[in-house]
Amino acid sequence: MRYGRGPEVLRDLSFDLPRGSFQFLTGPSGAGKTSLLRLIYLAAKPSRGLVSFFGRDASILPRRELPLLRRRIGVVFQEFRLLNHLSVFDNVALPLRVSGQKRKEYAEDIAELLSWVGLGDKMNASPATLSGGEKQRVAIARAVVNQPEILIADEPTGNVDPEMGMRLLRLFVELNKLGTTIVIATHDLQLVRMLDAPVMTLSNGHLQIRAPRSERHNQDASPEMSTQEDAEELSSEGTTDE
């Protein structure tokens, strides 16, 4: 993948995201994480190669079909991308609203979801008045409200304290247990070390994939807490904190 006539930012990547899996995407700044995520959430098309989603080649997908595919993908941005002129409730309801659902059809579901992420008392608030952690939870609620098959989170703990980071991670694990495929892009090695999940590491546009500890030991693939041994191995792969 390249932007305009610039150099290729991603090349020779080949991977798949099994349904219901939990993956970390990590790598230093400028490694191409954001570009890879843009490919995954269909905000960009590859200059060459194949990006296939749900059995469809995204690079040749007719434009009118892209929105339907996007509705199956939830995205949590590092900078949240919440709309400050809308209430928390309306922000979370956005995916349902654009898909044509009526307010009375989703009002209770949104209220329940916001209660689940601990924001039941902030439904009428403007996102501008929320803390970083609260905004992050609103962004997560918006990403999962229409029960996407894939959830992509870009630096979901980048703006929150470690305790909130832990809570958000548990939230992702819960969603994964419900069947959602999760991809978390992060610099945060502490976060990566907390789960026994595959780690995709991008460096200079190339991708390395490290299988989870449980798989290497022929164990169950569900993400569990990692050992100190895994943490040291991760550090040795050159992943850097910023």
């Binding site: 991308r81 709309l83 209430s87 309801a93 956005l94």
Partner: protein, 301 residues
């Protein structure tokens, strides 16, 4: 679950596009001015149409006999005789012999009243009213006048008909071209504003896109906003155009300006034009905004 203490927000969902507040004001003013000018152009085209119809009808339904003054003849008697001859010609509905006083009144705007010597020879006129859809009696009338020996000739106004029609058509074409230009300018201004509005709200459109909104859904948001803006600015422009037209029509110079600004009180078509202008303005704005936003979205995503 939704606890009683924290109910889901009631009522309508918030507008997806935030209000543009002061950003739209200059566009509103420009659109109102364009609609005002377009209304004046439309009224001008309508005025040209009405005037053209009246002129051609007048020219087609009448002609004049000119009685040349001669020292040894009584011109007024000759005019009466010519009128009598004309009434017998098929296709002539009526003929009225005009006297010297009438001829002097025609010259009054240039020479003034009471300034003409009594012995100044003046040609007299006979006004002929023609029957509708009858064959032209010009040749028969000219022939009858020559046979009678009267010093008279037929002034066929139909000779001017082509030139008058051409002038009226030119005026209509000019007004309609002006109208088209103004509509195009309004559409271009709205398209520019819609693109600026889209650029200013790219965070909103990005969020909507990533939530699975279709291009037409996003374009419709801008379309609705610009329809209302076009409707309101069109209303203001049309009201001002109506007021100006009314003032000119009621003023002293209304007769001179009647060609371009017809009297509103006598023709409901002009009122209809002013009423439909805001709707057309709204539709033009909406369409222009929709196309501009859809085009930008295709480029961006």
């Amino acid at each position: 679950m939704n606890s009683p203490a924290d109910p889901a927000p009631a009522g309508n969902s918030g507008a997806l596009l935030p209000p543009d507040s002061g950003r739209d004001t200059p566009l509103f003013i420009v659109a109102a001015i364009l609609v005002f000018l377009a209304c004046i152009a439309a009224l001008g085209a309508r005025g040209a149409w009405v005037a053209s119809e009246k002129w051609t009808t007048d020219l087609e339904s009448s002609l004049t006999i000119q009685i040349r003054p001669m020292d040894d003849r009584n011109s007024e008697a000759d005019a009466i005789a010519a009128a009598d001859i004309a009434r017998d010609i098929p296709g002539v509905k009526n003929a009225i012999a005009r006297d010297r006083a009438y001829a002097e009144s025609l010259l009054a705007p240039w020479l003034g009243r009471d300034n003409l010597p009594d012995d100044l020879p003046l040609p007299l006129m006979v006004d002929i009213e023609l029957e509708n859809n009858a064959p032209s009696p010009v040749d028969a009338l000219q022939s009858a006048l020559e046979t009678s020996g009267l010093p008279a000739s037929v002034d066929d106004q139909g000779r001017w008909l082509g030139a008058v029609r051409e002038a009226a058509n030119s005026a209509k074409t000019l007004a309609l071209a002006l109208l088209a230009l103004l509509a195009g300018a309004a559409a271009a201004v709205v398209a520019f504003a819609a693109r600026a509005s889209l650029a200013a709200r790219i965070d909103v459109t990005d969020a909507l896109h990533l939530c699975g909104a279709e291009d037409r859904y996003i374009a419709a948001l801008f379309q609705r906003r610009f329809f209302m803006l076009g409707l309101k600015s069109g209303l203001v422009g049309a009201i001002f155009a109506g007021l100006v037209s009314l003032l000119v029509s009621l003023g002293e110079t209304s007769a001179d300006m009647a060609f371009f600004l017809p009297h509103l009180s006598v023709d409901k078509v002009e009122i209809g034009l002013l009423l439909i202008a805001p709707i057309l303005s709204g539709l033009t704005s909406a369409l222009s905004a929709r196309l501009a936003v859809a085009s930008d979205l295709r480029r961006r995503w």
